[in-house]
């Protein structure tokens, strides 16, 4: 196995218009540098699959007009408030929204991870989420003698997933630590790219303690270096959220004009 290195520009070029793009939660390593490059390249009609929610990444892509639909459990800026572009686009009917719930998004990817067509899931019955999801099915649990309805969530396989992480090794393995949901997303996706803060000249597998937190390189098509690649979001315990920037974004992106001004300032190379 060997490292295939590339650039963020090349990764973004691999995302065709109309792709289903895997999007990580704020705690999983959000590839913001890549996200800005997607906007620069003027992507269209992206469908976002969030595991299980998104923050600035989805909000900016939506505001920039790159997105056709979003499947998610939530989009929010967290302590910085509602996601302004998402909120505006949904309220104005400009965005197709497939509302889900966290465990259903995990279950859809876990089905693909095991290459089965669906995962059963408890809960959900009686939630209005189900009314609007014609892709979900309720069956009667075949192992129960009593009436026992259960939801089946169909498998989902993103066309491309991109995650930002701290380190890759010289053989293309990536250290993700406890963030195993990254592995689930990557296992379930057809193509995978990572951006990393740095590539270090070791083999993570030489150390069993490090190895426990590694995503094996054979799942990853190519890796690009992106220093501060999650900025203005946090990355593990490497750097914190840029609070000033996030407050500024939350305020400015409330209007279309404010968001466009933010974009033109922040998309400079």
């Amino acid at each position: 196995m060997s490292l295939t290195q590339c650039t963020i520009t090349e990764i973004a070029a691999e995302v065709a218009n109309g792709s289903l793009l895997g999007v990580p939660a704020d705690y999983s390593g959000v590839p913001m540098a890549f996200t800005r490059e997607l906007i620069r390249q003027g992507k269209q009609d992206l469908d976002l699959f969030c595991l299980p929610q998104s923050t600035l990444q989805a909000d900016m892509l939506i505001g920039a007009g790159c997105v056709r639909s979003v499947e998610t459990a939530a989009i929010t800026l967290g302590e910085y408030g509602l996601a302004p572009c998402f909120t505006r686009f949904v309220q104005e009917g400009q965005l197709q929204i497939k509302d889900s719930t966290c465990p259903a998004l995990h279950a859809a990817l876990q089905a693909t991870e095991r290459a089965v067509p669906f995962s059963p899931l408890r809960g959900l019955i009686g939630s209005d989420l189900v009314k609007h999801r014609s892709d979900w099915q309720i069956i009667s649990n075949p192992f129960s003698d009593d009436e026992d309805p259960i939801i089946l969530i169909p498998a989902v396989s993103p066309d491309v997933s991109v995650i930002h992480a701290q380190k890759a090794d010289r053989n293309g393995n990536v250290w993700i630590g406890r963030r195993k949901e990254v592995a689930t997303l990557i296992h379930a996706s057809k193509k995978n790219f990572m951006t990393v803060e740095e590539i270090v000249d070791v083999d993570f597998y030489d150390n069993e303690v490090l190895a426990a937190g590694v995503l094996p390189g054979f799942y990853i098509d190519a890796i690009a270096i992106a220093e501060n690649g999650a900025w203005p979001l946090a990355l593990g315990n490497r750097y914190a959220t840029d609070e000033t920037h996030m407050k500024d974004y939350a305020l400015r992106a409330k209007t279309e004009e404010g968001f466009q001004a933010y974009l033109s300032e922040n998309l400079k190379v």
């Binding site: 967290g78 302590e79 465990p103 259903a104």
Partner: protein, 241 residues
Amino acid sequence: MDYKLEELLICCLSSKLHSMRHIAIGAASPIPAGAAFMAREQANKSMHITLLASQKHNHFTDGSRELFDAAAQGRIDAFFLGGVQIDGKANINLIGTGEYPNTERRFPGSFGSALMYYVVPSVFLFRLQHNRRSMVETVDFISAPGFSPPEVYRPGGPVALITNKCLFSVDKERQRFRLESLHPGVTLEEIKDLTGFDFDHDRAPDITQEPTQEQLQLLRGIIALEIAESYPLFAKQTFDI
């Protein structure tokens, strides 16, 4: 004694958590977090607290699905859910108001509520703006229902609802809220005015117990620091740290 509303709510919630072995707290829940830390300090040192927004207080190692798996396994005793709207049947709406999908006011989304509300034995609802827009007769969208018919697998569900005005308990038999206590200075009439749903109550409801000196010291000391790790803005506003 001088205390903030948030401090009252933390102490009030905390008293309900003494017997829990494992409490999990989701995003945007600083008051539940404070209540859990308080309960651990005061009643049960071996209690396990999972704060999802924290690194220090999050011991999950199997990715973000582990919360839902552990809850479904029955390993999490208490969880907390908010609601843009909460109705008299304890249905919660985290999506928004108006007609779905292009709601008039859109909120982030249902998060994990559509599983957690079903499987965690003690779910506490909280909403800091108690008014007729939030406490409604019928929610515009059911993110997760308060009760389920008997054939639906449901080991968990709501046990209480705390607001900035009062504490309701949940009567599972009657599938209704019951006013448990009024926060100091609030009247029953006021609650009736502010609440869009019918609820049971005593003629002269109890008053929510005020924080003790000991509780306030704990809260403003070590607990404030714990909260600040995950909710820095909240900690700054409430405890000025």
